[in-house]
Symmetry: C2
Subunit: 207 residues, 2 copies
């Protein structure tokens, strides 16, 4: 059975929702980042990067959200979570997810994780000040040219949707009003109404 | 015909090498970042992100290195550039490429592109100071647990290889000695000996 390692507040939400939407047989393991679970030896055996998500499969561990999302779609083809038979359309979905992990998530990460890239308190404050502008620019780009509506790829719900939803949930903390992006705002409400999303968020909300 | 937009010194090298290895029918368009070509209106119509690579296909433009690499492999299946029939192995390749774009490339980017995330000169200097440590940590992780050898995925040359080669070429500028990573060092020499790599590097070296 698949086993997803996650921590509250992280991008592992995207993989969790995708597993639920796929109708996958899976279980979850929650890490407590406040207790440093991700740096403990037993977890570093699972994922030497000390990050989440990690997905344990019967052939080994997978990490990195875009890879996990495409894997979930490929091993649950009946769920139609990606345009698997169309390399161009599949590449567009992958392009969206790559943008989220390499640019949009990184822009957000400079709010609380600036110490990954700098040491001085003044640098961390400088980074924090720039987060609203950078995150808003990422979302403006997605709104204007990347999100088709009502779902990211258009009429079909795909693995891009839970990933966008995950990053959009961070907008308020990033100091960006989601209402500036009407398509993404509408997308967010549609996501919140999905039974799979409700079920996962209930699990994440438990103490 | 496929058309790759690239600029010297960028991660577009990975896509260019992959196209060459695939035996693809393609042409190239070089942008001059020193002249700001990537911010000119005609290029922003191609890629509103103002970045490279971008790959024009007969169905539209693709961006983001991991997406382009997987696309090149999928539309040239005879070149065997990815384990297309094995979702777990494909996910491992995708995981590697996701790590490069979201973590390893981002660590490198704080050397010269720190102004993406901060404004003060002191912050940019702080970021620069941390680059050798961060880049070395990324490569140590790849060396110890992600690069099988002789190629990234083991005995098969895949779309992961030109991407690793691209980032490894930046190590010297990042202040990191590639000799610290024996498998990656060996990989680099093997890559430099490949005819496809030589051909592409010759084109990139032209004034």
């Amino acid at each position: 059975m698949l086993k997803l390692y996650y921590a509250q507040g992280t991008c592992a939400l995207a993989s969790h929702v995708a597993l639920e939407e796929a109708g996958a047989q899976y279980e979850t393991v929650r890490l407590d980042f406040a207790k440093g679970d991700q740096r403990k030896p037993e977890y570093l055996k699972v994922n030497p990067k000390g990050r989440v998500p990690a997905l344990a499969t019967d052939r080994g561990i997978l990490t990195e959200t875009p890879a996990i999302l495409a894997y979930v779609a490929q091993v649950h083809p009946k769920a139609n979570l990606a345009p698997l038979g169309d390399p161009f359309a599949f590449a567009r979905a992958q392009s969206f997810n790559s943008y989220l992990c390499s640019t949009a998530h990184v822009n957000h990460a400079h709010l609380m994780r600036g110490n990954r890239w700098a040491d001085e308190a003044s640098s961390l404050e400088d980074m924090k000040r720039k987060v609203p502008k950078n995150v808003a620019e990422s979302f403006a780009l997605m709104e204007s040219g990347m999100v088709e509506g009502p779902w990211v790829m258009g009429s079909a719900y795909t693995i891009c949707d839970p990933y966008l939803f995950t990053l959009a949930r961070w907008l308020e903390r990033d100091g960006v009003d989601i209402a500036r992006f009407p398509k993404i705002h509408d997308h967010h409400r549609r996501m919140e109404a999905r039974p799979a999303v409700k079920k996962v968020l209930e699990e994440w909300a438990r103490p």
